[in-house]
């Protein structure tokens, strides 16, 4: 049996809206570096593949009884990077209102700071109130029951262009562009630094990036997808897609439909020492409540159905994160399906992704200026 990949999705006090009131919760610390450092350190102690960090360009809710406010996820990941050594760091960043030039260099820099452990969870914003925070375009309010299909498709097309620009910018410097040639006084070989000249329906970007190609070449791009349009987007743009099956048969169905290198299933998890009743929670992803052994059974069943990894969303932090690292992980290790130690240095390598050739590197003898 092949090893499975395990990630956790960190968000506020956890994915249960009531999580911040749990006895172990530390809601007053949500906006401190210490809180995030401790969570990621716990995930690293559990030898998890990576953590994702949620983000958004607006408040989560207007309910004063729930967590509101968050810190920028890229900056949280970067703040944690020097204090961790193995775990992948995959912040969420929204594409709809932001600049691909900025996001490209931010994720590239996270890759430098973490020595090859950076990824990115691409997120769209279809929310009218978030568009108002920027005031540069109108986004019609979308009723989840009757999504405006064409409009959504446009947003995904734009996102695909955006990721293409980010990826081109990552490649805009060849790996050996910096030469420091004292004889000619040249710091770079400018034939190895490339304009990307992207021209699309939504924007044009000239390049090159101001930041040299990151250690992984291409940091790992990930996206959450619930249906057809985002599946097609993920196939174009992502190395890892997070999907939301409800059971093993559904997992099989989705895994056979979505052609992305890694198909991870998202699960909200509540881990208890003994079997418990199901939890009621509004959630796009399946909600699991039970023992680590029961969760291990479920993961292996879904893995057999074609899922290559899991992004577990702890219901309560830090309890269910500890349930994962101290309960589920030893269980999976004892079944011989999860690593005991980290082996690979970069996130790509851990996911079995080779370091890609640079799209702009000329084939020997055929360089074009």
């Amino acid at each position: 049996m092949t090893n499975l990949h395990l990630a956790v999705a960190l968000d506020g006090a956890g994915w249960d809206p009531a999580a911040w009131r749990a006895p172990e919760a530390r809601p007053a610390e949500l906006f401190t570096a210490r809180y995030w450092t401790q969570l990621v350190a716990e995930a690293e102690a559990g030898k998890l593949d990576f953590v994702t960090i949620e983000d958004g360009l607006g408040v989560q809710t207007d309910d004063p009884g729930q967590v509101q406010g968050r810190l920028d996820a890229v900056l949280i990941a970067s703040r944690v990077a020097p204090l961790t050594h193995h775990i992948g760091l995959v912040p969420t960043a929204t594409v709809t209102h932001t600049e691909p030039f900025h996001i490209s260099k931010a994720i590239a820099t996270l890759d430098y700071v973490s020595r090859g452990r950076a990824g990115w969870r691409v997120q769209l914003s279809a929310r009218a109130h978030e568009a108002q925070h920027f005031g540069r375009r109108e986004i019609p309010e979308i009723n989840p029951a009757f999504p405006v299909r064409e409009h959504v498709r446009e947003l995904y097309d734009e996102a695909a262009d955006y990721v293409e620009v980010v990826r081109r910018l990552w490649d805009s410097w060849e790996d050996d562009a910096e030469i420091r040639d004292a004889a000619t006084g040249r710091f770079i070989d400018r034939d190895k630094v490339h304009y990307i000249n992207f021209e699309g329906r939504f924007f044009t970007v000239k390049g090159p990036s101001i930041t040299p190609r990151p250690p992984q070449g291409q940091p790992v791009v990930t996206a959450l997808a619930h249906n057809e349009i985002p599946y097609r987007f993920a196939e174009k743009a992502a190395d890892v897609v997070y999907v939301t099956p409800v059971d093993a048969a559904d997992a099989h169905e989705i895994a056979s439909q979505v052609r992305v290198r890694h198909v991870f299933a998202d699960l909200v998890v509540f881990l208890e020492p003994t079997s418990t009743a199901a939890r009621q929670l509004p959630s796009d992803a399946h909600v699991f409540a039970g023992t680590p052994a029961q969760l291990a059974d479920l993961l292996l069943e879904w893995q057999a159905a074609g899922i290559s990894g899991f992004r577990l969303r702890p219901g309560r932090l830090p309890d269910d994160l500890r349930g994962i690292t101290r309960g589920l992980v030893p269980e999976l290790q004892s079944r011989g399906v999860f690593r005991h130690e980290y082996q690979e240095d970069t996130l790509r390598a851990r996911l079995g992704l080779e370091r890609p050739a640079n799209r702009y590197a000329a084939v020997e003898g055929a360089r074009v200026a």
């Binding site: 900056l75 970067s78 925070h133 410097w173 710091f187 000239k206």
Partner: protein, 444 residues
């Protein structure tokens, strides 16, 4: 009590001040270089660490400029990571007000301020040009004359966002189930000629309330902007007379905004070469200048004045006889901070005359006419000179720009700082945790 000096460490930049050919010179991209310089600055009790930023690689003659250091990492991302390996040092980032939006920048600075426990600073710069705009969705949308009106509105808007959460908005009371004491926290609405935005800001109030604001423009509009809004100004006026004139000018503008004399720190950029003796330092400075101005670099500098391709000229030979091209289209692009020479033909004549009189080659002339180090001498000489400039109101402190990455501040930290401390003009311990504490600024 004498005036206290403020010191900042500028990570070496992408211009010819930085000597990448030095055997000691390390990476400009690897995080270790940033850690090294920041930790040296913190060991020496500096006020803050400073990152510049330019959003397009420089070009000359239609090609990427390849003689200086090229490339840098992302400002916010580096500063957030540095917050993990330093404890007190302020973390200042240069962020452009043209190619960004207030909501995003405000949440990045507020986040950085939280993640550093109150050490964030924002150097607001206004480069507006269409050349840089080609890297962005909106392109080069702003006219030069509007750069400070956008910057002013941008900063006003960002301040509204920073202030939109009351300090005590979060109750996080598990018993009552109240997370937000103030359900309207973050609410804002802003409308002016540049921004029309409304909604709720999503980062709670940060330890400093707002990041410290730095400004680096030199025009009249830039100085006015600084007087109206900045906590510190980064200038190029580092000599006694020039410094005093600039200092009096910007401090003189404060009253109009109801601000105190001490509420704006004037911090000129300062380069330096240390030696065991003054003579030793002069000799070292001579070598550094030759490293900074290679033959190839000298020709490129000359091209910037002449605005012509001068690649056929010998840097060790005489200056060109032809006059500069004074047409609008300029050969050098992406140098936001370099104001083009006002009267190129007159300057060229001056340079030719000087080169002839002193028998200087192109390279020797460029070594003479382009930025010498501000401070050259033994540690004692430099400490005295810095102190003197501050006591005579030419500055409130300095942003030191070492020429070698990342070790170029070591000697200064080890030799000059202790002398300043002996003189009683520089702190021996940080007095508080935040950058506002270091700079003596009130929390808004």
């Amino acid at each position: 009590m004498p005036k206290q000096i403020h010191l900042a460490a500028h990570f070496p930049g992408v211009n010819n001040t930085t000597v990448w050919s030095d055997p000691e010179a390390g990476s400009h991209i690897e995080f270790d270089s940033f850690v090294k310089l920041a930790q040296t600055a913190e060991r020496a009790k500096f006020d803050f660490f400073f990152l510049a930023e330019g959003l397009r690689l420089r070009e000359q003659g239609g090609r990427i400029y390849d003689l200086d250091v090229v490339g840098r990492p992302d400002t916010f991302t580096v500063l957030a990571a540095l917050a993990a390996v330093t404890e007190r040092l302020g973390l200042a980032g240069t962020i452009n007000s043209t190619f960004n939006e207030p909501y995003e920048v405000a949440r990045q600075f507020a986040s950085l301020d939280h993640l550093s426990d109150g050490r964030a600073a924002w150097n607001v710069v206004t480069s507006w040009d269409a050349f840089t705009g080609e890297n962005f969705r909106r392109g080069g949308f702003l006219a030069e004359g509007d750069r400070y009106s956008r910057a002013t509105r941008f900063l006003e808007t960002a301040k509204e966002l920073f202030d939109s959460w009351p300090a005590d908005a979060i109750a996080a009371d598990k018993n009552s189930g109240t997370f937000l004491r103030d359900p309207s926290a973050g609410t804002f609405a802003h409308q002016d000629e540049h921004f029309d935005i409304a909604g709720r800001f999503n980062v709670p109030r940060s330890p400093q309330g707002r990041p410290v604001i730095l400004q680096a423009g030199d025009s009249d509009a830039g100085r006015e902007f600084a007087a109206a809004t900045a906590d510190a100004i980064f200038s190029r006026h580092g000599t006694l007379t020039d410094g005093q004139k600039f200092y009096a000018d910007v401090k003189g503008r404060l009253a109009r905004y109801g601000r105190e004399h001490d509420s704006l720190n004037v911090l000129p950029a300062a380069t330096f070469v240390l030696g065991d003796t003054d003579n030793d330092a002069q000799e070292r400075a001579r070598i550094v200048r030759r490293q900074q101005v290679s033959g190839a670099t000298a020709i490129k500098f000359l091209e910037q004045l002449w605005n012509r391709d001068l690649s056929a000229y010998d840097p060790d030979g005489p200056l060109p006889e032809i006059d500069p091209d004074v047409s609008e289209q300029h050969i050098a692009r992406g140098r936001a901070s370099v104001r083009m020479h006002r009267d190129p033909i007159a300057v060229a004549r001056e340079w030719r005359e000087r080169a002839a009189a002193e028998k200087l080659s192109i390279r020797e002339l460029i070594i003479e006419v382009t930025g010498r180090q501000n401070f050259i001498g033994s540690a004692a000489t430099i400490a005295a000179a810095l102190d003197d400039l501050v006591q005579q109101d030419a500055a409130d402190g300095f942003i030191l720009v070492p020429h070698v990455t990342p070790g170029g501040l070591d000697e200064f930290a080890d030799k000059v700082v202790p002398l300043l401390q002996e003189r009683g003009v520089f702190r021996t311990e940080y007095s508080g945790p935040t950058l506002r504490d270091h700079l003596g600024l009130a929390t808004p």
